[in-house]
Amino acid sequence: MSTFETIPESTSQTSAEHLAERLSKSITAAAEADRREGWNRPPVFLPESENGVLEVAMGPHHPSTHGVFRMDVSVDGERVIRLKPVFGYLHRNHEKIAEGTAYLASMPYTDRLDYFCSLTNNWAYALAVEKLAGIQVPERAEYIRVILAELTRIQNHAAAVGFLLQDMGASGTPLMYAFREREKILDLFEQLTGSRMMCNYMRFGGCRVDVTDAWLDRARRLVAGMPQFVDEFEALLTTNEILMVRCQGIGALKPDLAVNAGVTGPMLRATGVNYDLRKVDHYGIYDRFKFRIPLGDHGDVYDRYMVRILEIREAVHILEQALKEIPAGPIMDPKTKLRGFRPKPGEAYGRIEAPKGELGFYLISDGGSNPYRYRVRPPSMINLTVLEDMCLGHNVADVVVILGSVDIVLGEVDR
């Protein structure tokens, strides 16, 4: 494969001049080759390996990959025979940095993991630290956490479906409708936490700022308007023949492969496996709410789309109940110290049902003020490992749609 060309350190020129010089050399070489063989040199545009297989590299700046992500696709005619996802372009060394900073200081960095759902990232990290240090969370804080997590789930699923349609060629209309609703939810986050996407709101043992009644009323009004939006969205998309033909039977994932590969979230439930952490782990106070888990049968792109739409409807049910029953009371466990927080040595694994799947934080503490080991279980990356199995046999147009249905965010894949 292409070995990385090492730039000799000892050269006197700076690396930029070195690159420029090598580049000019290669252009003159190409020009000479032209002259030698007459102007009609066989063009380089069809790099064919031996048996007519066309190597197509989609990304990292391909218009339809969600962020910096490359797929080396080998295509025989129109059919895909090999697909190698290449990621790591957005790797920011999050876990090693976390080992060098205090527990609280890592909280704002968790916003940047899956930058679509910062509040669920915060909650997963807070849950892990609370398990590590054995901190109790007051009632009102638990309700606030459930409300914010379900709001995050709604805006993430809406955006995911919008991007899926964008990959299928609908020129932005479903995406704009999804973003219109998402803006309302982000405004709610801004009024509460101060920032639309980088909320940094949850603390170990509760939340940072209390929820005002005015905010709760706005939330109730928003949740009341949500079913009408989902009905409109479904009227535009669900029975649309072109969408059905483009999505049904594409990128089917078998349940046993999904379970073995560790796929979680809407992708797993679309294959029919009934695994939702809110029902399995009983974390937070989800047991107090009555809601159902939508399951698909075929595990193809259409099922993933439908599972996300139905999950938005279920999230609306949860929000209605939570907003009705939220009690008054403290939002922060008074015992937790803000600075100099040193949990006793030990390890803990806190996981929640993030919109993309099972998001887990594994912490080992050696008694110091920063974790000995800090590991994130990224649902996007693990769901991505089965991308090749889903894409084999389909053609290039489907690869883009299948990638859209996996709903990855590169911040979480690369960390």
Binding site: L46, S64, E78, N240, M244, R246, A397
Partner: protein, 391 residues
């Protein structure tokens, strides 16, 4: 008064031409006609780009361009200037001559196909006996220019895009021809003004447009689908499918040559909607008998703009079909249905006029449409699904 206003352009041309010596008058008249077309339609193209972006915007709950000039009216001018001033990059080992020739051939052939369209009473540039055949002959030449564009830019994506575009245009040209043959069977002539004349009478206040007859509606539907596919628009715009192959055959074009491709696409849309309007919606005849005092060319351009709005509406709503689905749809649904429409048109022609032929034709077409539609979906096991829930 209404008649003079209706023929205002013809009178203006005759008035201008009579200054010249008689030997040159026919040539000058034709030249003025050409100048008219070459001025009006690119102007309409500029207006349509703005209309498209504002229409799409409004469909997506946003304004659309409104910064350049009042209500964004100068936006096309800005786009035009940008296209003119942008650097025209030609790939390193591209085939220079063909790279330049491709957009020119496309624009020229599309402009020539306007010569035959009757834009108003006596306002067709050339009244050809085989006008419809001339229109499709010009349509056939655009495929060649797509090939020249795709091949000459020596880029793997543009080759793929060109092959897809030509395959799509060929497979949708057949049903388009067949559906217009149905009109010829009833109108009895290939010359477009005669087709419009055949539709230009009323019972009560309703016009005799072909689209209101069962066979006409079927043919118009197939013609519309084929026209959308022929101009690579909305559900069939796979050749420049941004998400897969970057921009299809005009990837390697920039600057004014790219603007020419853009112009050719829109002119193709005008030409095909003009033809569709002429064949099925009575060309320049007024929609109701009491409205005939409005000049005929206003009706023609109103109907064409209506058709353009439907193009834009489709683009704002529908996702894109995949290449093989698009071809299957052409050969396994649109073409058979067009053949059936031809059969039904024959029934319509040789059955005595009366309500029986209405019933017979409508039933055949409706039943066939539903049965073929359901069979197409059943074959691919596609259809709405129900979902189970777990507690």
């Amino acid at each position: 008064m209404a008649a003079t206003f209706d023929q205002i352009f013809i009178l203006f041309r005759n008035w201008l031409v009579h200054f010249l010596p008689p030997a040159w008058q026919p040539a000058a008249g034709a030249l003025l006609g050409v100048i008219g077309i070459v001025a009006v339609f690119p102007g309409l193209f500029a207006l349509t780009t703005l209309l498209e972006r504002k229409g799409l915007g409004r469909m997506q709950n946003r304004y659309g361009p409104n910064r350049v000039g009042p209500f964004g009216l100068l936006q096309p001018v800005a786009d035009g200037l940008k296209a003119l001033t942008k650097e025209d990059v030609v790939p390193f080992n591209a085939n220079g001559l063909m790279h330049l020739l491709a957009p020119l051939v496309m624009v020229v052939t599309v402009f020539m196909s306007f010569a035959v369209l009757p834009m108003g009473r006596h306002m067709e540039l050339v009244d050809m006996d085989a006008g419809l055949l001339f229109f499709f002959a010009m349509g056939a030449a655009t495929e060649l220019s797509v090939f020249m564009a795709g091949w000459s830019s020596r880029n793997k994506y543009s080759i793929l895009g060109a092959m897809r575009a030509v395959a799509q245009m060929i497979s949708y040209e057949v049903p388009m021809l067949l559906s217009s043959v149905a009109v010829v069977m009833i109108a009895g002539s290939l010359s477009l003004p005669k087709v419009v004349a055949a539709q230009n009478h009323y019972t009560g206040i309703f016009p005799h447009w072909y689209v209101f007859t069962p066979w006409g509606f079927g043919a118009a539907l197939m013609f519309a689908i084929a026209a959308i596919a022929e101009t690579n628009r909305s559900p069939f715009d796979l050749p420049e499918g941004e998400s897969e192959i970057i921009a299809g055959y005009h990837t390697e074009y920039s600057g004014f040559k790219f603007a020419l491709f853009f112009l050719a696409e829109y002119l193709g849309m005008f030409a095909l909607s003009g033809l569709g309007v002429t064949l099925f919606m009575g060309g320049w005849s007024a929609p109701f008998s009491f409205l005939t005092w409005i000049p005929s060319w206003i009706w023609f351009f109103a109907k064409v703009m209506l058709a353009i709005c439907v193009f834009i509406w489709m683009r704002g709503t529908l996702p894109r079909l995949r290449q093989d689905q698009l071809m299957n749809f052409a050969w396994k649904f649109v073409l058979p249905y067009s053949l059936l429409v031809l059969l039904v048109t024959a029934f319509w022609r040789f059955l005595p006029p009366g309500w029986e032929r209405w019933v017979v034709c409508t039933v055949i077409l409706a039943v066939a449409y539903v049965v073929m539609g359901r069979a197409a979906f059943k074959l691919k096991r596609v259809g709405p699904r129900s979902y189970r829930y777990a507690e």
